[in-house]
Symmetry: C2
């Protein structure tokens, strides 16, 4: 097999554009100097656009999970009651973090592969008057579901004063997000998904209402204390040494997104979802989620007549193509294709072309080219 070639189509980490790689290879700078301040000044307004907020988007060196923990330790106090909407493995992670801090958790579980129903959440919350925060996942990476975050906060506010805290890790930057307009109180994402960067940075923004809660919380930990990050970012600096190479890369990645146009970035992700789903529908291989609940950034496929793990092994060995498997009780039952960040419709076609051959090699009887052709048709109709 051709060496030094891998196709990374898991739902993050995602491939890095060459110009971002080059930007990250810049000579190191001092984290307390003017160059770092200039870098942060260049980054800030673009992060505002991606989040859809006028609040400063804080930049923390850590993984996405550090962002979920930051939301919990800053906005919730031990013994507080919270509602966590669990639509998959990442909803469950919010539960685990809250429990680690002695927070009283009400779980609202949704069948994996389905989005939550906002009306049902509202009715459920009506009976939980002491809940101070509602945790939700925007894109549930483990199932490829995009939850209706845009309507959640308005519904919550009808029945509760609880803060609305959202994990946007595997979609923000790839799907339109209007934090302020939608009334989200805390929004978290990571660098290694739609931002086309390595893992290592976490971005988090906080509403005025949530800052009031955070300021009144006497125990916010130390490294993840968001007040420190907010006060320092206002002066174009950070409380602790940031992952400067990834900041160089972030500046360039935002340049690329701006050059493409944020609206076009989001439209491209929607198109890639439609192409991927259309191909598997044409091949009559079942999808885990229905059209309405499906994420623009990751598609979960649930085969009913071949082995998902065997298929993943075949395409990895034969083509160097990596897609993700299932998690928890979906382990072995699904595979998940990432189509986000540095990924084009032409890359989707290529992934589909390889997967069709992988299906044949796995023993599944399909008509070669049929999925690719369905995706091509969707592309051509989209352009019209």
């Amino acid at each position: 097999m051709l060496q030094d070639q891998q196709y990374l189509r898991i739902p993050g980490p995602t491939p890095i554009p060459p110009s971002v790689q080059r930007a990250m290879a810049q000579p190191m700078i001092g984290h307390r100097g003017n160059e770092t301040s200039e870098l942060l000044r260049s980054i800030k307004p673009r992060l505002n656009k991606v989040f859809g907020t006028d609040q400063d988007v804080l930049i923390v060196t850590g993984s996405g999970t550090s962002g979920l923990e930051a939301a919990v330790v800053n906005a919730v106090k031990p013994l507080d009651e919270v509602l966590v909407i669990v639509t998959g493995a990442f909803g469950a992670r919010f539960v685990a973090i809250c429990e680690a801090y002695g927070i009283r958790v009400h779980k609202y579980e949704v069948e994996w592969g389905k989005a939550f129903d906002t009306h049902e959440i509202k009715e459920h919350l009506r009976n939980l008057p002491n809940v101070t925060a509602v945790f939700a996942t925007y894109c549930e990476t483990s199932t490829g579901v995009l939850n209706p975050i845009h309507e959640l906060a308005a519904a919550v506010k009808e029945v509760s004063d609880a803060l609305v805290i959202v994990d946007g890790v595997s979609c923000v930057g790839g799907v339109e997000t209007r934090m302020d307009e939608w009334g989200i109180d805390i929004l978290v994402t990571g660098s290694q998904k739609a931002f086309m960067l390595p893992a290592g940075l976490m971005f988090i923004a906080v509403s005025e209402r949530a800052w009031d809660v955070i300021r009144s919380n006497p125990n916010r930990g130390f490294y993840l204390d968001l007040v420190k990050y907010r006060d320092d970012l206002a002066k174009d600096t950070t409380p602790f040494t940031p992952a400067l190479s990834i900041l160089f890369g972030l500046d360039q990645a935002l340049d690329l997104m701006e050059k493409e146009g944020f609206e076009n970035v989001y439209a491209r992700h929607t198109l890639m979802k439609k192409m991927t789903r259309g191909a598997f529908e044409a091949l009559e291989v079942p999808l885990l989620t229905n059209e309405e609940d499906a994420s623009d950034t990751v598609t979960a496929v649930k085969p009913d007549d071949f082995d998902a793990e065997e298929f993943r092994k075949v395409i990895k060995k034969e083509f160097g193509l990596s897609v993700a498997g299932g998690q928890e009780h979906l382990k072995g039952k699904i595979f998940r294709i990432g189509h986000m960040g540095y990924c084009s419709p032409a890359d989707v076609l290529q992934t589909l072309g390889m997967m069709e051959m992988g299906l044949i090699k796995t023993g599944k009887n399909i008509e070669l080219g049929k999925g690719v052709a369905a995706a091509q048709r969707i592309y051509l109709e989209w352009g019209e």
Copy 2:
């Protein structure tokens, strides 16, 4: 369109593997130090394998054309008579170089798109007793023809003592080459094709018989005087400062080829040719060359009911996909797809997928996915 993404499928320069890019970014070294000697020692035996020769393969900083000129100025004297087999634009270049040096050229012209017939060359040469060198092109890049170089020298030797000088620029490294076994006297290639490197280095090897001729030539120029390169390479050095970054890259590119296995590299190129040709046959878009004459590294397509240039514009604008146009009298009439070097069967599928959509956008009525499916079938049968 997704920024910072281009698909370079011209017949060279070709894409550079990431590990080769990284190798080329190594800190600069002195060209007279031990590090350079070690680098040359590491490179030499692998170049021998690629060329199929026990002679040292000389490394000259220059383009492929500098290699053609080096062959001429070293092995031919002004007023000598030579035979140049012209199967396309690069055969014609040998003519131009010879004429620039006052060499008397007999041209043997073959219809563009066809390979030469060795028997006919032999019969032609029978009537040219004073010819001291026969020039031929291995892969004629301008038409996608792979000439039967493997049988040329044996045929020439039957009727003449002329040296056999071969331009192997757009195929050596991608197709099997046995310089010694086939009796080639001088073989030239460049770095920017099957070697997966930027342009800037030229490789040239010379038979014992040709060295005798070269030594007796009193005017070999200066920079391209191959005796200088030979004497210096025997001491693991070069007469003039070499393009060291590309040497770093060459060392890594040869590592990649060795890791894949040279036989596998050549088989991959044959497969990619078959996939590309099979796709256009399925789509009923005519090819310029017949199966027997077709190169493993580049395929020329000659549409009969759509505009090749319009098609090239569409796929460049829509997908960032570059393929080459025609040269000289084939300008506007063909397009040429490179499938060599850092290019995999999966990349060929992707190129075909994009081109099918480009055909529709150009107004050509094709069945989407049909060419891709034909290529997939060829891939799957190949593996069996």
